[in-house]
């Protein structure tokens, strides 16, 4: 019996430790409000920011048959003002019955005016907080970010989740470039200290408001310096070499065509003469499929393809140079030429680093483009071309 009683004491000790110290971290789901979207705006008082948090109401969203009243809004918006994100959050805590849960935050939207004044101090909280995740999508909103979170989307009850889906689809067809918090932060902290983020704006038609992604916002050292239009952002993607979709319109004197982009790749090469950076060379190759042909009266398909190749090269060059000019205007090296030089030619970078802005703003970019049209879709010839009587 001696052995059994000894075992029993040991077991009771372990059980005592377990229970008395357990249940610290318990967070019952019905005492938690799930944050799905975050918006940072410039508050009226100078120096303060207005933090808007979008919370998904579980009751209204849950599947199964116990969905709440039909007209109940699935999403609840709460906002608070404070000098920093943490201060704003604290003020939120005391008037909110539930604990805020950031793990499922999908989207971080920064208002344009706040972006222009600078966002670096506010990003630190998102890096440091244990609950924040790095794959949150970063967006800049035209006007107030608060209104973006307020607008409802027909397909998805929770608009933040909807926006996340929209960004994912757009990045796949590279209509615009989705930027995650990690890429944004790493670009900003890199040598060339400039990054891009997609812009989201509200299109107001009579009573319904629609959200749409258009163009990229350019940041330099944490401050927004300007905007790139749709075409400019496509030019930017050409140089970065990660264009996976979308189509390119080509005009030639004989006719015009739309080429669907299959894939693209680009190599950057700085050209030095006697360790002074003379120009950057970017050779871009693109693979296309002809999506649409108009004109090219009675010509052979081979001639059409040659024409299209030249035309495509010119239009890509136009796009790229147009975007490059704009970035030079804004003095922000969004292509990461600086960090590229640092990586591959660390020695030379030390000399250029000091006046990199000046060097970049009048650095010549020489682009040579190789176009490869792989396929003409189902039909070889278009109706207007030769051979049709």
């Amino acid at each position: 019996m001696k052995q059994i009683s000894r075992l029993f004491i040991l077991a009771s000790v372990i059980a005592a430790i377990l229970f008395s110290s357990g249940c610290y971290d318990i967070r019952e789901l019905d005492r938690v409000s799930i944050v799905t979207g975050l918006a940072v705006d410039k508050a009226e008082q100078p120096g303060n920011i207005e933090l808007t948090i979008q919370i998904g109401k579980a009751g209204a969203l849950g599947g199964g048959e116990n969905v709440g009243a039909p007209d109940e809004k699935p999403v609840q918006l709460i906002d608070a003002v404070g000098e920093s994100v943490m201060v704003a959050l604290e003020s939120l805590r005391n008037d909110n019955s539930r604990i805020l849960f950031f793990q499922h935050n999908q989207v971080l939207i920064i208002g344009e005016d706040q972006a222009r004044t600078g966002i670096i101090p506010y990003l630190d909280t998102f890096m440091r907080n244990k609950e924040s995740r790095f794959e949150v999508w970063v967006l800049v909103s035209e006007g107030n970010a608060k209104d973006v979170l307020e607008t409802e989307m027909e397909l998805d009850e929770v608009s933040a989740v909807g926006i996340a889906k929209m960004i994912k689809n757009h990045t796949e067809t590279s209509k615009s470039l989705g930027v995650r918090l990690l890429d944004f932060l790493s670009k900003i902290t890199e040598r060339s200290a400039s990054a891009v983020a997609p812009i989201i704006k509200i299109i107001k038609e009579e009573d319904i408001h629609r959200l749409s992604l258009s163009g990229l916002a350019v940041f330099k050292k944490g401050q927004m310096t300007g905007k790139l239009t749709e075409d400019q952002s496509i030019g930017f993607s050409w140089v970065m070499g990660d264009l996976k979709g979308g189509n390119l319109s080509v005009e030639t004197e004989k006719g015009s065509a739309q080429l669907a982009v299959m894939s693209s790749s680009s190599k950057l090469k700085p050209v030095f003469n006697k360790d002074r950076l003379q120009k950057m060379k970017a050779d871009i190759t693109g693979k296309f499929i002809i999506a649409e042909l108009t004109g090219f009266k009675n010509m052979k398909i081979e001639q059409v393809i040659d024409l299209l190749k030249k035309g495509a090269a010119d239009s890509i060059k136009k796009l790229v140079m147009d975007c490059y000019k704009k970035s030079q205007q804004l003095k922000s090296d969004i292509y990461g030429f600086g960090s590229y030089i640092y990586k591959y030619h660390a020695g030379r970078w030390k000399t250029i680093e000091k006046d990199w802005d000046a060097v970049f703003s009048n650095l010549a970019l020489e682009v040579d483009i190789k176009v490869d049209i792989q396929d003409t879709g189902k039909t070889g010839k278009s109706p207007e071309m030769e051979g049709i009587r």
Binding site: R6, I9, L10, V13, I17, S20
Partner: protein, 70 residues
């Protein structure tokens, strides 16, 4: 908290002490007591939150004095 710690120490004491005495292994008993008392003293010091200098800090200052550190 204090009660809790004391409870644990008493239980540890209860489990092992009688058995060791019965088996009359006094050498093990000696080591057992020194571990036990060291742990008890340290825990009481912590509870009364008297700052305890840890050996690592001593070594750190020692090595820093002969500037053998990064």
């Amino acid at each position: 908290m204090m009660l809790f710690i004391l409870f644990i120490f008493i239980v540890i004491f209860l489990i092992d002490f009688p058995r060791l005495i019965k088996k009359k292994q006094f050498k093990i008993l000696a080591i057992y007591c020194c571990f036990y008392s060291l742990a008890l003293v340290l825990s009481i010091l912590i509870l009364l939150d008297i700052p305890v200098t840890s050996p690592m800090v001593l070594i750190d200052s020692l090595l820093k004095s002969i500037n053998l550190s990064y």
